[in-house]
């Protein structure tokens, strides 16, 4: 087997981040070196991931890299492997992109903080850990990286340690996260006891024929473990605390990247290791968890009064979409879920960065205190609106395409199984989407539009070095929404195929024919051809939009302009109308928007906000109860 140059890329892209972390710690005195090393590390990692698109995505290669050249011997994979198939690469690209943009943003963003060298060390550790998880082919390595990632994330959450909320959030995160970590470890131990190997590919081949209660327990434990990392439903409150307290560029990583490792883990566990996703019971369970996450967190988000907390709850709501879609186990569902995963990274990254920009400029993210910033920060407001439209699925932005696929996938599944439950999931997804829109209207109204408090009279636009990564993300949001065909060709199609085709993954690591010799059932779990029920051609829409806009613009240019704008001194003509009152007397609190909705749902919302009481012990109890329920569910239905 001749080694191509690009086969070293996976290991290099992980190592460059870790190396960067150590070097930053070494050269922590020099600001230039720190910036330089971090930039090189994140750009290098991203570039290597992009370079892998051609062989992995287009040529369908699966890169298996045995560290130290320890190839499998005697039918057992003893060495540590990095195995990059289309799924891994998909998540790798997503991760390295988010790390790159958020890293570039951090240089300026952390200017107001001290201990920046530690920030970048931890930042690169976190990035390296995530990359390690998605590219690794070894279960125990995944666990190690998971821990590296978790501890880096905990430290970064508490980075602004003068803030008591940050310390508390980090503590909660540590405690609740440890449930996940320990279940992953226990699951891995059980698997090792049964299969005598830690290699993902080999376990995938062996697990099916070795299904016994302890393996089932391992499945449940791994599922819950990775679910914790994805902050699926009973674990969601810690995410909210952590996102709200962490610096924004770290929130981008926690929301856009960290949670994706959970999703990635669930894909690996359900589609590869145990191949349980084909079972209706597992599908139902995952879709149920996904739908509950999706709806519950969006209603929680509507209740929030802090920009970043609100984003945090949306984050989990979007993860709910991804889980729902992946749980359907159809090609369309998987493609939709993966599409939503990358979209979520982009738009939620963008939104967290705008939240960071607001925090940077004004010093607060409390919705009640802010207002009218669009006048002072027009670019940030535009970026926020792009992010908000993307997340709430307004065409032609990217969130729409993936949500549209998810609706089709769920409804198609309903048609296939004849169960109206999946149809209701479609309805729930649409309702969640509109509630998402509502909560971003609330943010828009209370942060960027509406009345501006006097103390923000001198607020400046976000610095250019922070705007550039945000504009790149915004551009990508639009591009991924407008060019779904390219997305399918280069990323989603191969990744969907790879998710459904675990034998290829096994054979690549263990040698051709290994899967066939070990697996009782080699058939694909679903037909990998993506079939759409409807049509959506964003480019044609955009073309028509531009044509008609041009016509309207032409018509309006022909007429005489009669626009009257206010001068430097606000006269009463240009004052806002408030029954004739002076503008200074016209403050209306925007905190309690959507009264009509909240009034009708007051019992539910009251119950929810009482339940989320912030007591770590209770959150731990929820987690443990959830673990128990999932274990019982697995034992009853599988």
């Amino acid at each position: 087997m001749s080694m191509q140059y690009y086969q070293h890329f996976p290991v290099l892209s992980i190592m460059i981040l870790f190396l960067g972390a150590f070097l930053v710690a070494l050269f922590h005195k020099s600001r230039f070196m720190r910036t330089f090393i971090t930039s090189v590390a994140v750009i290098g990692s991203f570039a290597m991931m992009i370079a892998l698109i051609k062989p992995v995505m287009l040529n369908g290669e699966i890169i298996t890299y045995w560290l130290g050249g320890r190839v499998p011997d005697g039918g057992y994979a003893i060495g540590i492997a990095l195995e990059v198939d289309a799924v891994s690469l998909f998540f790798g690209i997503l991760v390295s992109l988010a790390v790159l943009l958020s890293g570039l943003y951090s240089f300026r963003y952390t200017k107001q903080d001290d201990a920046r060298d530690k920030f970048f060390t931890l930042y690169l550790m976190l990035a390296g850990g995530v990359m390690g998880i998605v590219l690794s082919g070894d279960l125990f390595n995944i666990y190690v990286m998971l821990e590296v990632m978790t501890f880096a994330a905990v430290a970064l959450t508490a980075y602004r340690s003068w803030n008591p909320n940050a310390r508390e959030a980090a503590f909660k995160y540590l405690v609740v996260g440890s449930i996940g970590s320990s279940s992953v470890l226990l699951g891995i131990a059980l698997i090792y006891a049964n299969c005598h190997t830690l290699n993902l590919a080999q376990i995938s081949a062996l697990a099916m024929s070795k299904m016994n209660p302890s393996m089932l327990l391992a499945f449940a434990l791994l599922f819950v473990g990775f679910g914790t990392k994805a902050f699926m439903v009973p674990f969601h409150p810690i995410a909210a605390d952590a996102h709200a307290a962490a610096p924004s560029s770290v929130s981008v990583l926690i929301s856009g990247v960290f949670t994706k490792t959970g999703v990635y883990g669930i894909i690996r566990v359900c589609y590869f290791l145990f191949r349980t996703m084909g079972m209706p019971a597992v599908q139902t369970g995952v879709v149920l968890i996904g739908s509950v996450s999706m709806f519950l967190c969006v209603t929680m988000a509507l209740n929030q009064h802090d920009f970043k907390r609100l984003l945090a709850f949306h984050s989990i709501s979007q993860i709910g979409y991804i889980l729902t879609s992946l749980g359907l186990c159809t090609a369309l569902g998987i493609a939709g879920g993966l599409y939503h995963a990358i979209n979520h990274t982009l738009f939620k990254g963008l939104l967290f960065l705008t939240a960071g920009a607001v925090l940077y400029s004004t010093g607060t993210t409390k919705l009640e205190k802010l207002g009218g910033l669009a006048k002072k920060m027009p670019q940030t407001a535009a970026l926020f609106m792009i992010g908000a439209f993307s997340i709430s699925g307004v065409p032609p932005f990217n969130g729409f395409v993936s949500k549209w696929m998810i609706y089709q996938a769920t409804y198609e599944k309903a048609m296939e199984t004849g169960s109206i439950g999946y149809a209701l999931v479609t309805v729930l997804a649409v309702v969640t989407s509109v509630l998402t829109l509502a909560s971003f209207v609330k943010v828009g109204q209370s942060v960027f539009f509406g009345e501006m408090p006097i103390e923000y009279q001198n607020v400046k636009e976000t610095p250019a070095s922070m705007l550039v990564p945000m504009w790149i993300m915004a551009g990508l949001c639009l591009a991924t929404g407008l060019l779904p065909n390219l997305m399918f060709k280069y990323l989603l199609g191969p990744a969907t195929g790879a998710v459904l085709n675990s034998p290829a993954y096994i054979d690549s690591a263990m040698g051709a024919g290994y899967a066939a010799s070990q697996m009782p059932d080699m058939s694909l779990m679903a037909d990998p051809v993506i079939v759409f029920a409807g049509a959506w051609k964003p480019l044609s829409w955009l073309l028509l939009f531009v044509i008609i806009l041009a016509a309207v613009a032409l018509a309006s240019l022909m007429s005489k302009k009669r626009t009257s704008e206010s001068g430097a001194v606000i006269d009463s003509k240009h004052d806002t109308f408030f029954g004739g009152e002076e503008n200074t007397f016209s403050q209306v609190a925007s905190g309690d928007l959507f009264w009509g909705f909240k009034h009708n749902m007051r019992k539910y919302l009251g119950f929810m906000s009482n339940a989320h009481n912030g007591i770590t012990n209770e959150y731990v109890t929820w987690g443990v109860v959830d673990l128990a329920i999932i274990i019982v569910y697995c034992f009853i239905f599988i």
Partner: protein, 322 residues
Amino acid sequence: MSIDINTILMYLLYALVFPGLLFSSVFGLWLAGVDRKVVARMQKRIGPPIMQPTYDFFKLLGKETIIPANAATTTFMLAPYVGLVSLVVLALFIPVGGFQAFGGMADIVVVLYLLTIPSLSIIFGGSASGNPFAGVGVSRSMVAIMAYELPLILVLLAVSKAVSGNGMLTFSLEGITTYQKLNGSLLFDWRLLPAAVAMLLVIPCEVGSHPFDVGEAETEICEGPLVEYSGAPLAVFKLSHAIKMFVMTALFAALFLGGIATGMLWLDIVIALLICTVVTIICMSFLHAITARLKVEQVFKFFWTVVSGLALVSLILVWIGI
């Protein structure tokens, strides 16, 4: 796809004249005029001339546009145009009497989402004006959107299920009209009758007509999001409102009465336009004349219980396959 000049011209004609910008504006204004006239007649009044919305539109074009000092100027000025254009584009996607200018570009779910863009343009435009009344109006408009979105998706899913037999799911509007051409209009399918009623109730909420015009309640919150608009942008919003009437009624006609086929395209189109007018009269003028404005929480409750219930009944009936 071969591109020759005739095709391009034809598509331009579709986009700008029929059923695009010009036609949808004219027909929308006609519908708005009919609505006002019929409401007036039902209230024992003579009512304005049918041309009244047109006069309003042109008058507003001739007025001064004031940009409030508090407003985020770009969003404030751009929002109405974006809303108008996206509505016109949406009008191109909806088949009128079997005639669809741009087929295969958007399905019903896309239509559902494209419908939110004009509402969003009002919301963000109003929000950008920096007026507290607009703030309240924005909140109410958003609650109205939340209210009607649930029944609307239920209706769309029920229709989609009804037309997609033998395991093949279709969301496409062509699919729905084709099915109706073969099997008769869905309005005459008794299982879908509740859904049709629900749709008739969704239309006034989506358009923002009485009794569901909570967002623009001019007597309470000074027309809500539109409070700071004047001159041409306001004219554009009024025009969008009119076109929305056309789009929504045409959507109803396509979803439930798409089976009318006389063999002649122009006659089909005329019949479809007549249906649009009748639907406007039934679901907007009639409701306007007999009801008073609901409170915002009543609107929400009404749509999530009664209307959604109706749509859900249809969905269930269609699913259990009677």
